[in-house]
């Protein structure tokens, strides 16, 4: 009786271990796949951020080119007809 029991227990343990081995093997596979997907997603985000960064830099350059003093002077003088007021046209407002 006892011998039979212990044999059954042995078998059960073996089966359980076998099950665990299979499960862990499957987990390894899914994990690797997950990792691959996450990494690919990250890489795609990096590419997107890189692209956005490149665009931003282009815009900065464009802004810098449009806002040089030469450009500002040109717009102020020619398009907006602005000019430096003559000294006698200036009224100083003294605070305090």
């Amino acid at each position: 009786m006892t011998r039979l029991n212990s044999a059954m227990i042995d078998r059960a343990v073996t089966l359980a271990l076998l099950g665990l081995v299979v499960a862990s093997a499957l987990a390894v596979v899914t994990n690797i796949d997950d990792r691959r997907q996450v990494f690919a997603a990250r890489q795609a985000q990096l590419v997107a951020s890189d692209k956005a960064d490149g665009h931003w830099r282009q815009l900065l350059l464009e802004q810098a080119a449009q806002s040089t003093q030469v450009e500002v002077d040109k717009v102020a003088h020619h398009r907006l007809k602005m000019r430096q007021p003559a000294p006698d046209a200036i009224i100083l407002v003294r605070g305090q």
Partner: protein
């Protein structure tokens, strides 16, 4: 049981057949085992070597900005077009499309690729704009590929070329700030394992070994607007007076911030051509010149400080000539008995020499050294010169006298600006700097506040109709400054016909905020006096700078209508 006719034979054949088959299966099994298990690492390696590469990931070089965050240097991605001639040759009839788009002469492409048909990689054109690169891609030509590269742009171009410097093709700093702060600006490239196809295009990244670290951004003390302004006026003046070169330095007195630093001649850092040493040199810190009369205020300050003269002492300059060691020191005319203020106002050489001769040589040397003459300002700009100030024990009597009007010692424009800034800072030391940093601890008191202030008052007299620099006047503001017109020292002696014109000034004089030095070398026009050549540049740049920085007017000479607003308590 019936036996077959040749039972042994049948059995034997059976056994042989089975063993042969078994042997074959065993052989296959072993081969499979050998390849799959024993040789796996080796074979995987081989496969990986064909497709898997570790590639460098680009790290952006840090940006350089001015004090208001305006970009002065930016790295951006650009694309280079390359061709695989073995594929590209198939569409020979469409080559002109590419040539037209890239604005290349028709023969050029033919020559470039037609003669390299056996190659697999030929650059067609490097560093296109992203727009053009997109158009190239849009053509959809087989055998034409884009490669990513990086390029550094300097939006201010030649205006700030000397200061910023530039980088080489490998993105390493070569000059100026780019060189000095290369470590900080350059990033750490990352490494990524990728799978590539036959044409070395990335198919799929596999893993990131090291992430790329971008370089740090830097903020300079420059003000892009003032930088541009100073450059424009300097360039115009150098051109108008047909001068050889020139520099302008503008300092914020309380902080020592370098707000503008420009030179002529200049170069465009966006272009690789035209980078001759003469154009690339940041003359404002590398080149020394004899300051001429701009040194006089410091001699007067030293004499006042030592208690040898007072601001109302009278110095006899008659008869306008002073003989020292067999040489004659001259004024334009005899100014009579004059005060230190009048020495500065009239720029009397005789007066200044008399003051200097009344002091110990060591006293003068000590005073000049404490102002930073003959010593680099430690502004962190590469190639900064120390200037020249010989030790007092080596001076002859004549040296001591001529030093009083700026001969026999040499300064850089930045050093001179620093010395004036100290005068304007109530005698407290000023450390010019190009990178924004928290202010240093309490600066040392170099000159007493009383002496510094009284010399600034004296310098206001220079910028009047009775002084030498009427043209430095700025409407609405009080200006203190000093002209200096020195003969150029050439091989063997002073050139009687050639000059260096300098103006150094402070504004607003009631409580100086800005110090500026303009130096123009070898003007060849009619005018060569500093009051006519350098002082007008000061007035133009300073008037705009004061406005842009919202510095309140302190002038009383032209008090435009003054209004006390209602509702604001007086």
């Amino acid at each position: 049981m019936k036996h077959p006719v040749f039972p042994e034979t049948g059995q034997l054949r059976d056994v042989m057949l089975r063993s042969l088959l078994l042997l074959a299966v065993a052989g296959l099994a072993y081969r499979a085992f050998y390849l799959q298990v024993l040789q796996t690492p080796f074979l995987q390696d081989k496969a990986a070597n064909r497709h898997v590469r570790v590639v460098d990931e680009h790290a952006h070089r840090g940006m350089i900005r001015d004090r208001n965050g305006e970009p002065l240097a930016i790295s951006t991605a650009v694309n280079s077009v390359w061709a695989d001639p073995t594929q590209f040759v198939a569409v020979r009839h469409r080559w002109s499309e590419l040539a037209d788009l890239l604005e290349m002469p028709a023969g050029k492409l033919e020559q470039l690729i037609g003669q390299r048909l056996e190659r697999r990689f030929v650059y067609v054109k490097r560093r296109l704009t992203p727009q053009l690169a997109d158009q190239v891609k849009g053509l959809g030509l087989p055998g034409i590929y884009l490669q990513r590269e990086y390029r550094r742009y300097y939006p201010t171009g030649e205006v700030s070329g000397h200061l910023l410097g530039f980088t080489n093709i490998d993105d390493l700093g070569q000059e100026g700030i780019e060189l000095q702060f290369d470590q900080l600006l350059s990033g750490q490239p990352g490494r990524t394992r990728v799978v590539q196809d036959l044409y070395r295009r990335w198919v799929q990244p596999v893993e990131s070994l090291e992430p790329a670290l971008s370089g740090s951004d830097m903020t300079l003390t420059l003000d892009k607007r003032l930088q541009y302004l100073a450059y424009r006026e300097l360039k115009a003046a150098v051109h108008r007076h047909r001068a050889a070169s020139g520099s302008v330095v503008l300092l914020d007195i309380p902080s020592g911030d370098i707000l503008a630093m420009v030179n002529q001649p200049s170069f465009n850092p966006n272009e690789t051509s035209g980078r001759t040493p003469a154009k690339v040199r940041n003359r404002a810190v590398t080149d020394v010149f004899e300051p001429g009369s701009t040194i006089k205020p410091f001699i007067i300050a030293a004499a006042l400080q030592a208690g040898i003269y007072r601001s109302d002492s009278l110095i006899d300059t008659r008869p306008g000539v002073l003989e020292v060691g067999g040489h004659k020191i001259r004024d334009h005319r005899s100014f009579g008995r004059i005060t230190p203020k009048q020495i500065l106002q009239k720029s009397s050489n005789v007066g200044a020499a008399r003051v200097a001769l009344g002091m110990d040589a060591a006293q003068i040397e000590e005073a000049l050294r404490s102002l930073g003459i003959g010593r680099s300002t430690a502004s962190q700009l590469p190639g900064e010169s120390d200037g020249i100030l010989a030790p007092a024990h080596s001076w002859r009597k004549l040296d001591q006298a001529t030093m009083a009007f700026g001969y026999g010692l040499s300064v850089t424009p930045l050093q001179l600006a620093k010395a004036y800034a100290i005068l304007g800072n109530q005698g407290r030391d000023v450390s010019p700097r190009i990178v924004s940093q928290p202010a240093a601890a309490r600066p040392a008191q170099v000159i007493t506040p009383e002496v510094a202030d009284s010399v600034v008052r004296m310098l206001e007299a220079v910028v009047t109709p009775e002084g030498t620099a009427m043209q430095a006047d700025v409407e609405g503001y009080r200006i203190a400054g000093k002209t200096g017109t020195a003969h150029l020292f050439r091989k063997g002696g002073y050139d009687k016909e050639r000059y260096v014109a300098t103006f150094a000034g402070l504004a607003p004089a009631s409580a100086p905020r800005l110090a500026m030095v303009i130096t123009i070398q070898d003007p060849k026009g009619e005018a060569y006096y500093a009051g006519d050549v350098a002082a007008p540049v000061f007035a133009r740049v300073m008037s705009r700078a004061l406005q842009l920085l919202h510095i309140p007017a302190d002038g009383d000479s032209l008090p435009t209508r003054l209004v006390q607003p209602k509702g604001i308590p007086a």
